[in-house]
């Protein structure tokens, strides 16, 4: 299983379980893997137990029934920082789906059918959508781009014997 890690706002991954052990994470880290709809606290995944340093549980700011007037905001002690999780931001910390850029470039330069250019266009689309926060759109573009790469390679392979036929036809 491959995991993506968000530790103190720094994202990394994919790593496997052994990799997580070496990362020196704390219980404040968030983890995501394929199949999870959202990031979860590392403490919520039983298979990762003991692979991170346990931080002292942060005390919940006590909710008291005291009237607010007696405690002016300025003198009120700042509530202990709870690791607040910004879901909008986290949506963009899911790793970018593959842009297939390498394959797109290879098929453009090496296959004689210029369909690799479409694959480059889709690589651009993946990157754009991902940065707009549209993960689903990026995934769709990534898949379409991958099909264009595969189609380009197949067309290139089909075209090879065709080129010999044309050469022979030209020679005769």
């Amino acid at each position: 299983m491959q995991y993506w890690i968000n530790h103190n706002g720094v994202q990394s991954g994919p790593v496997d379980v052994d990799g997580i052990k070496e990362m020196g994470l704390t219980s404040a880290a968030y983890v995501w893997h394929e199949g999870l709809t959202d990031w979860v606290k590392i403490t919520q995944l039983p298979e990762l137990q003991g692979m991170y340093e346990m931080l002292e549980p942060v005390a919940e700011p006590a909710v008291t029934g005291q009237p607010l007037e007696t405690q002016p905001a300025a003198t009120q002690p700042a509530p202990a920082q709870q690791p607040q999780i910004n879901y909008e931001q986290l949506a963009t910390t899911e790793p970018c789906p593959p842009t297939n850029l390498v394959w797109a470039i290879i098929t453009t330069v090496l296959c004689c059918i210029p369909s690799g250019i479409v694959a480059i266009f889709y690589a651009l689309k993946v990157s754009n959508k991902y940065r707009e926060g549209d993960i689903e759109g990026a995934k769709r573009a990534s898949e379409t781009g991958a099909w264009w790469c595969i189609a380009s390679i197949i067309l290139g392979i089909i075209a090879m014997p065709l080129s010999y036929l044309m050469m022979m036809a030209g020679a005769s």
């Binding site: 994202q11 990394s12 991954g13 994919p14 790593v15 990799g19 970018c96 842009t99 850029l101 390498v102 470039i105 290879i106 453009t108 330069v109 090496l110 296959c111 004689c112 059918i113 210029p114 690799g116 250019i117 480059i120 266009f121 690589a123 651009l124 990157s127 754009n128 940065r131 075209a159 090879m160 065709l162 080129s163 010999y164 044309m166 050469m167 030209g170």
Partner: protein, 124 residues
Amino acid sequence: MRRTLVVLLVLAALLVIGAVYYALDPSASGLFPRCVFLSMTGYKCPGCGSQRAIHALLHGDVLGAFKYNALLLVAVPWIILCLYAESRRVRNPRLYARLNAPLLIWLFLAMVLIWWLLRNIFNW
């Protein structure tokens, strides 16, 4: 482990292909496939000349490679850099993100399209 095996197989295949392209000159030998796009439409595709360019590159003839297909000279380091970034994505996610940023992909796309247009106008 599986990844290492795949990398080794790919490297071995590249070595064999490289040896063929080193030993045989695509502009002299009839063994190499010609561009179907060129034979059908009469227009060069962005990849035309890349076989001859690879042969020239393998012989250290950078200028010759540039004349056959200038795009290939840009694409090869680009591909190597992208593959490197992909293999280091865990340790260096920033490099990967930068190489796959919209701006750089745009740049490459524009380069390919302009190259395609210009080479057909000026017969490069």
